[in-house]
């Protein structure tokens, strides 16, 4: 009994510490005929368990964080310090009545939440979560990510159209317009990484950012001029792709109530909510993989102490916190501002960034490379900003009744 327990603990430890193949500890125990299935299950189950759990935790932490930003305590009733709020919310949504409008297209109304959640789960399959921890090591991993991610737009349209509600349809059309527009800067900003790393396989891109033996700091792409600009572009575009504030027009509560999931309740609504957050996690994971060194620690010596996947999840938590922070800060943009930002500012800047990455490819990490790419990006950012928002057109806001208004 004790012996078996110790063996089991050893096995868990083998999986948790960075092994060449984490599944190798389990697979010999399984009969030969079942190995393929069990191996697939071992790849899929952690994703199905870890990310929804992370979603549950994030909803609570986000509400608490937003509360603190607004100087209020946030949810603090259920469980210790309110941390079981997600359980209460989950029970509530699961036991709620599932309302389907009479005019709705029942079949599509039913399929839409599934069509949103399934592709989002699929996008996780190409992300390297840790050393040797990638469920599907595709040669065209990045292409897979975007190809699968593109089908969420269809799910959004399905939800909006099947509900037979004008607000739903408006929200869906807004969502599609926004996602199609921001997909271009998103893909272009990641292409700079593909160009420099010379591969579309995500584990290979992570390897390209590993610190050499002589380096003090890791060679993360974010520490280069084009990588920094690309990372910022990626963050903004990912924010818009995930329909998060300040780009949450598709669900804009004050204008179109809840957008495309207005007519959803109960479990289906929970699925939409889950899909949205999982999309955010996937986008953050891609950003980490492409720009923030994936599962690598910032310094080489740190990698010996802490398992690689913990670095990945720490970075994920940091990025999600940034998104929550942005949500707590910025108000929702207007539709024309949204489109102007995508087409007039981010698209040219992403193309210039691609050019800068090409220059970097030829010049390398030399002083000349640094100076030229940085100069190019700063000048183009500054001039595009001047064109988009000429100073003087937007004056200082004067409040009539409060503060510094005319006496």
């Amino acid at each position: 009994m004790m012996e078996g327990l110790r063996e089991f603990c050893g096995m868990i430890w083998k999986v948790l510490s960075d092994q060449p193949d984490p599944k190798a500890a389990f697979l010999p125990l399984v009969p030969e005929a079942w190995r393929v299935e069990v191996s697939a299950l071992l790849s899929v189950l952690p994703i199905l368990m870890v990310f929804p759990a992370l979603f549950a935790l994030t909803t609570v932490l986000e509400r608490k964080g937003l509360g603190r930003i607004q100087n209020r305590p946030g949810p603090n009733r259920v469980g210790p310090a309110g941390f079981l709020q997600f359980a209460a919310d989950g029970i509530k949504t699961l036991t709620k009545e599932d309302v389907v409008p009479r005019a709705a297209d029942r079949v599509l109304h039913f399929i839409a939440p599934l069509a949103l959640v399934v592709p989002v789960f699929l996008t996780f399959s190409v992300l390297p979560f840790g050393r040797n921890l990638v469920p599907l090591n595709l040669d065209a991993g990045l292409l897979f990510f975007f190809a699968v991610g593109a089908s969420t737009e269809l799910a959004i349209f399905m939800a909006g159209w099947a509900s037979r509600n004008k607000y739903s349809l408006l929200g869906a059309l807004r969502g599609i317009a926004q996602m199609v527009s921001y997909e271009i800067p998103l893909i272009l900003s990641t292409l700079s990484v593909v160009m420099v790393a010379g591969t579309m396989s995500l584990p290979a891109i992570v390897d390209a950012q590993a610190a050499g033996s002589g380096d003090l700091l890791s060679r993360w792409h974010v520490f280069t001029p084009w990588g920094f600009a690309g990372f910022l572009l990626f963050l903004v575009a990912a924010c818009a792709e995930a329909n998060r504030a300040p780009f949450d027009l598709p669900e804009g509560e004050s204008e179109i109530i809840a957008g495309y999931y207005l007519e959803y309740s109960g479990f289906k609504f929970a699925l939409f909510f889950l899909g949205e957050y999982l999309g955010l996690f996937a986008a953050c994971g891609l950003g980490i993989t492409l720009f923030l060194g994936g599962w690598h620690a910032p310094f080489r010596f740190m990698e010996a102490w802490v398992p690689s996947y913990l670095w990945f999840f720490a970075k994920l938590a940091g990025l999600v916190a940034v998104f929550i922070w942005v949500r707590g800060t910025l108000p929702r943009v207007r539709m024309d501002q949204l489109m102007n930002l995508a087409w007039k500012f981010m698209l040219p800047l992403a193309l210039i960034n691609l050019f800068a990455a090409a220059l970097w490819h030829f010049l390398g990490s030399t002083p000349a490379g640094w100076a030229i790419t940085t100069g190019l990006l700063v000048v183009s950012y500054w001039s595009l900003g001047r064109i988009l928002m000429p100073p003087g057109r937007i004056g200082r806001r004067v409040y009539r009744y409060a503060g510094e208004g005319p006496a």
Binding site: L143, A150, L173
Partner: protein, 170 residues
């Protein structure tokens, strides 16, 4: 012929038939997207990773959305009350059926082409890129030009015409 291939083939054919025979245009669009997805699955199963993923990205992410938008812009969201098929539908089906008969009979009458490719070719993305960017670079450039012209042309065609009243002062 594996079971997966057969399943994907059934998905493609039912999707295609449904897309061209359903009464509700939005359902037609979704059925056609299902057929495109099935084709992408077939491509992936054949080992053409790049093409399969491009098929999903282009047909599901772009063409399907375009169809849906066009349907909504031409007020096709509701159920069509008028007849779906033209009066000479029998003729059309006959032509298509005859063509299918000819193609299939030719396919099965000829010498049974055995599968010579025992080794599964799975070109890496790098090879595909080399091919596209080095050997076929002229075709790629022409394609880029075509796409640019097509997108500009599409915008120009679909732009609302200035209304006659403003043009004509009388």
């Amino acid at each position: 012929m594996s079971a997966l291939n057969l399943l994907l083939g059934i998905v493609v054919l039912t999707g295609a038939v449904a897309a061209l025979s359903l009464r509700n245009l939005v359902h037609c669009a979704f059925a056609s997207i299902g057929a495109f997805l099935g084709l992408a699955g077939l491509y992936l199963h054949m080992g053409a990773e790049f093409v399969g993923l491009v098929q999903i990205l282009v047909y599901v992410g772009a063409v399907g959305i375009l169809f849906v938008f066009a349907i909504l812009l031409t007020r096709g969201g509701g159920v069509e009350e008028r007849p779906l098929f033209s009066t000479s539908w029998l003729c059309g089906v006959g032509v298509a059926g005859a063509l299918a008969l000819v193609l299939l009979s030719g396919l099965f009458k000829g010498a049974d082409p055995s599968d010579p490719a025992a080794s599964r070719p799975s070109p890496t993305l790098k090879q595909v890129g080399q091919r596209l960017m080095v050997e076929d670079v002229l075709a790629l450039e022409i394609m880029a030009l075509l796409l640019t012209v097509a997108s500009i042309g599409a915008i120009v065609i679909a732009m609302p015409e200035p209304s006659r009243k403003e043009e004509d002062p009388t």
